[in-house]
């Protein structure tokens, strides 16, 4: 998981005829932002349907909270309730 883009991508600066600068990076960089590592072990299933579940999708709560407070207690993201221990 990259913590710095420049450390994990191949930067290929090629001046184009229209004077644009071309750089390149793998698609997964966008999905590897720190907060997403808390809710997604892999990016293989990122574009498909939600998994079988009739409950609470925690991804939004974690990402929203983590963006503000990186010390978020992940056990308390759902209305203060304990989510892990049943």
């Amino acid at each position: 998981m990259p913590s710095k883009v420049v450390g994990s991508i191949a930067i290929d600066t090629v001046p184009l005829p229209d004077r644009a600068v071309r750089v390149s990076l793998p698609a997964k960089v966008a999905y590897d932002l720190k907060a997403f590592q808390k809710v997604q072990a892999s990016i293989l299933d990122r574009l498909g349907c939600a998994a079988c579940c009739s409950g609470w999708d925690i991804r939004f709560d974690v990402v929203r909270s983590y963006a503000v407070d990186e010390k978020l207690n992940l056990r308390e993201v759902v209305g203060g309730g304990v989510i892990i221990d049943g």
Partner: protein, 477 residues
């Protein structure tokens, strides 16, 4: 019908691989939810595909596979769409799956001259008409599959309705009529009892236990007075006790599968999951069954089929349209709508659908989410999501939901620096992943500086302006 006894397994979630190596005796079978891995490669005509990198990952796993479909529940009036069927058959064949299961729920409804996805497993109309309708839809799917078909006993958060069939009788009627197997989800029926529906043991007395091929267990948690089937980690002790009691009474059971929702895997941890699997393996190994492991016979039980119906005025189509609209910010009136609006589970389901849609969007649109949160704050981001959800119906694929949100944001003409660049970037990243081709996207500033700032958790500052083109390479297979 030849179906081997497989043992204990787990639903496949990318990231579980360290638990799935051949030396781990707790995982004897892998359950694949194919639509989580499929990609929507074409909208017109609609076409789904299992990407090569997903197939490669699955083929590396030594365990036999079974398929648990999550894309088109079969408890309602809508038949599975041809493209879905085609992809499901192909996936079952390529994985050499032992059987396929789907949910006795409703995910697609017809209302206002179009069919839409509900974004959630809704309960079917629990009447004789509803059971026969579900059986018809189940038969359409089962007849086309190259392997046996079972249907899962689902969660129902609604209050029991006067005159409806009991949960057990409804399941029994549907499976007898469709002549298929049962995937008995013990956490689901325990959740239903906890939330005020039928007692678990009464339910089990009403279903044909010889049709149960597979058992599911999982965890959940309480929210606003409801127990949620969240697949969040620990299997509750009462469910494990129930499992110990029920498992020996299922003469044809072939697999016991532990379910966990993907976003809980990093939170619960691989150690936690392994511990759950060890407990299940212990229970499975202590069970003894009659020695008819290979041949599965499912005699019909005519007594399960009744013709008496107290809800003849409500058709499955009306039920599905009404409930579907009510939980997706739709507008619908009538006696049934008035009745359902009194049920506190209806707004609950609406909240859960909101969370699933938002989860799909933040999962796909990482950079965009970070930019809007950092610039406009949580409340504004939620308002934008809410606005989008109110003017659009849910979609089954996260990529579709993300593309819809991008279109919605463009139409809002928001004054957020770098937003046009990030919207183009996100669109191209989705296309790159789906088409497995390089995508080039123009930027009005240095994209590396911009993305690095978002990764570091702050708004971009003094990013160099200029004419840039970002080349997004697909992830390697």
């Amino acid at each position: 019908m030849q179906m081997p006894k497989l043992g204990v397994g787990v639903v496949y979630v990318p990231g579980l691989e360290p638990l799935l190596h051949s030396g781990n005796t707790c995982v004897q079978v892998i359950e694949v939810e194919p639509q989580t891995l499929w990609q929507l490669v074409s909208e017109k005509p609609r076409r789904y595909a299992l990407p090569p990198q997903a197939l490669t990952a699955l083929n590396r796993l030594p365990q036999p596979k079974i398929i648990h479909s999550v894309g088109f529940a079969v408890g309602g009036a809508q038949p599975p769409e041809p493209a879905f069927l085609e992809a499901l058959i192909e996936t079952a064949e390529v994985l050499d799956a032992g059987w396929v299961s789907e949910h006795l729920s409703v995910t697609h409804v017809h209302s206002n001259n179009r069919v839409f996805h509900t974004g959630f497993m809704l309960p079917p109309l629990q009447t004789v008409d509803g059971a026969l309708c579900a059986a018809h839809t189940m038969s359409i799917l089962a007849k086309q599959l190259p392997v046996p078909f079972a249907v899962e006993t689902s969660v129902n958060y609604l209050r029991p309705r006067s005159g409806e069939l009991s949960d057990g009788r409804f399941v029994a009627m549907a499976v007898e009529k469709a002549d298929c197997g049962i995937l008995l989800d013990l956490h689901n029926i325990w959740t239903n009892e906890r939330n005020g529906r039928q007692n678990v043991r009464a339910f089990l007395k009403e279903i044909p236990l010889d049709r149960v091929w597979e058992v599911h267990v999982g965890g959940g948690f309480e929210f606003e007075g409801y127990w949620l089937d969240a697949h969040s980690g620990v299997v509750p002790e009462p469910v494990l006790e129930l499992l110990e009691e029920v498992l020996p009474t299922l003469p044809n059971v072939r697999a016991l599968v532990y379910e966990i929702f993907p976003s809980f895997v990093p939170l619960f941890g691989l150690d936690g999951i392994e511990h759950q699997l060890e407990r299940l393996k212990g229970i499975w190994d202590q069970c003894t069954w009659p020695p008819n492991d290979e041949i599965l016979e499912m005699p019909a039980h005519p007594a399960f089929i009744s013709t008496r119906d107290l809800h003849v005025e409500i058709t499955p189509e009306l039920w599905e349209a009404t409930l579907g609209e009510l939980v997706t910010s739709g507008s619908i009136e009538g006696t049934l709508a008035a009745e359902l609006k009194q049920d506190p589970a209806v707004p609950l389901i609406g909240t859960l659908i909101w969370k699933f849609r938002a989860g799909a969007i933040v999962k796909v649109l990482g950079a965009l989410t970070k930019l809007v949160l950092l610039h406009s704050g949580q409340k504004r981001f939620e308002q934008l999501l809410d606005g989008y959800f109110r003017m659009s119906k849910p979609t089954s694929f996260a990529s579709q939901e993300a593309k819809g949100f991008i279109c919605y944001l463009r139409a809002q003409n928001l004054d957020i620096p770098y937003l046009p660049d990030i919207l183009r970037y996100e669109e191209a990243a989705i296309e790159s992943a789906i088409m497995q081709k390089v995508q080039c996207v123009p930027f009005s500033c240095d994209p590396i500086q911009l993305l690095q700032a978002l990764i570091d958790g702050h708004l971009p500052d003094n990013v160099e302006s200029g004419v840039y083109e970002l080349e997004i390479a697909p992830d390697p297979a």
